[in-house]
Amino acid sequence: MTTLDTRPPTSSATPPRTGGRPPGRTAALTRAELKLLLREPLTTIVGVLFPAVLMVLLVGAFGNEPDPAMGGVGGADFYVPVYAAATIAVLGFMSIPTHLASYRESGVLRRLRAAGVPATAIVVAQAATMALLVLVGVALMLAIGFAAYDLSTPVSAAGVATGFAAGTAAFAGIGVLLGSLMSTARAAQGVGLVLFFGLFFISGGGPPPDLMPGVLNDAVRFTPMGPLVSAIRDPWHGAGWNIAALGALATIAVVSTAIAIRRFSRR
């Protein structure tokens, strides 16, 4: 039998609350999401290990001798930055949308909204979780690259770090936007797979660009994958900061996040 203390009504004694922003809600949701992530090994495996394994396969085949088809850089130097970018793309195209769509499907989003959890908290928690996974995935790939494939160090480490940060922000935005649009986890998964594989292998993850038709190389520049890869690869190989790519990523981040927040707070 349940024991309940029946206190006298406290309602009338409760002072009216103001509509101010409650502290700690975003932090609490982020903390909860990180904990859930640690218990959900599949997301981590898909987002972090899958690009690393693909990278090992490709770099293992090409080695790191300078190759004119890759713009004169070696296979490891060409593919490691690209697959580090793939970690970001997998999380943004697949993991976040599927996660949020499953929340919608099961009623978690309803529950959070009814408790007054603001849309910004939902979006920030996803972005923070993604940033952590990107850090882990990229660290893993760089470690493999340096240890096993004689990867050369980036020419501009700050430029590469900025590229990763802008790329993470942009794809977190894409992730929450897709998550706000997809009604079921299954749909989110399907769309994510098409987007990732459709765009990633023509943006440098597959054959070297010089071996692909020029029209594909032109087309990919107008997808989020183009600036993502350029913003990371250019400073790595000494081509300097790619301001246009960084600007495109920042724009994607701001616009998609803003639309997602609007959609999540819609009634």
Binding site: S11, G24, R25, V108
Partner: protein, 304 residues
């Protein structure tokens, strides 16, 4: 009487479908107010508008002096809710859920005390997906009651529970009210509305078709009592002269007497006076189910 929720002429459509045509009611402080109706009658849309989760197309809503459509944020912490078909992440644990939902409330929340209050201390570290139906409802009630809200909305709280867990949950709802909250209960279970609610609004086709205490609804619209017994082949036509009796019908030896409620005892006395003591004499009092049938023209099962 202190009114905490006032809904006046609420109207809501989804595209061409009218979910709520015209609903008005007032909920008094400290009562358990029921919205009873079939699926699709407009109950959930109504309480969503009350909670500020759904924009309305017409009418006025006032909750604790606040219009939820204009200032839902001001209601946070003052209105708690248990939503129909809502869930928590599968792997979230009970204790974590309470901490998460307590964050951002102005009131301090004692997690241990909350776990004890709702009999959840033993499953504190259990994941949501591994909880039984009853444990989930206790957790949802605990979350709804965090910060001691003045109004608690419970939507289809006992759907999917077995009868025993349902009864246990009713005790919890009474406890919520006893702790000082006003409860709005959405249900399609007649028995639940009849036993639990101080007042019930019967919702049908986006409108309220009856609203009163369960007892008053039954007294006004329940159409008296029905008495049944086996006549054993005897003629019981004399019963139609007993004051209050409307009709006497015999089908396959089973007699059904429809009568005003006070006529039950005189009918029994009249039978005994004629030397008839049927072993299966039964009095069927009307229930909310009969009221529902009277006011909507259908049973709840036919509508669902």
């Amino acid at each position: 009487m202190d009114t905490v929720i006032a809904v006046d002429g609420l109207h809501k459509r989804y595209g061409d479908t009218v979910a709520v045509a015209d609903i008005s009611f007032a909920v008094r402080r400290g009562e358990i107010f029921g919205l009873l109706g079939a699926n699709g009658a407009g109950k959930t849309t109504t309480v969503e508008a009350v909670q500020g989760l759904r924009a309305r197309d017409g009418g006025h809503v006032d909750v604790l002096g606040i219009d939820p459509a204009r200032n839902a944020r001001a209601l946070r912490g003052r209105i708690g809710s248990q939503l129909q078909s809502s869930a928590l992440p599968d792997r979230m644990r009970v204790g974590e859920a309470i901490r998460l939902f307590a964050s951002g409330l102005d009131a301090d929340v004692d997690v241990d005390a909350t776990l004890r209050t709702w009999d959840l201390a033993a499953v504190r570290r259990r994941a949501f997906a591994a909880l039984s139906g009853g444990q989930r409802q206790r957790l949802f009630l605990a979350l709804a009651m965090l910060g001691h809200p003045e109004v608690v909305v419970l939507d289809e709280l006992t759907t999917g529970l077995d009868p025993q867990a349902r009864r246990a949950t009713w005790d919890l709802v009474r406890a919520v009210r006893d702790r000082g909250a006003t409860v709005v209960l959405v249900t399609h279970f007649m028995e639940e509305a009849e036993l639990l609610c101080d007042r019930v609004a019967i919702v049908d086709g986006g409108r309220i078709v009856a609203l009163d205490t369960p007892a008053a609804l039954i007294a006004e619209r329940g159409n008296g009592v029905a008495l049944t017994f086996s006549s054993g082949g005897r003629d019981v036509g004399f019963l139609s002269h007993v004051p209050g009796v409307d009709r006497v019908t015999t089908t396959d030896g089973l007699v059904t007497v429809t009568a005003a409620a006070p006529a039950a005892a005189p009918v029994a006395a009249s039978l005994a006076g004629h030397g008839i003591s049927p072993p299966d004499f039964r009095t069927h009092h009307p229930t909310l189910e009969d009221v529902f049938l009277t006011v909507t023209g259908r049973t709840l099962q036919e509508q669902s």
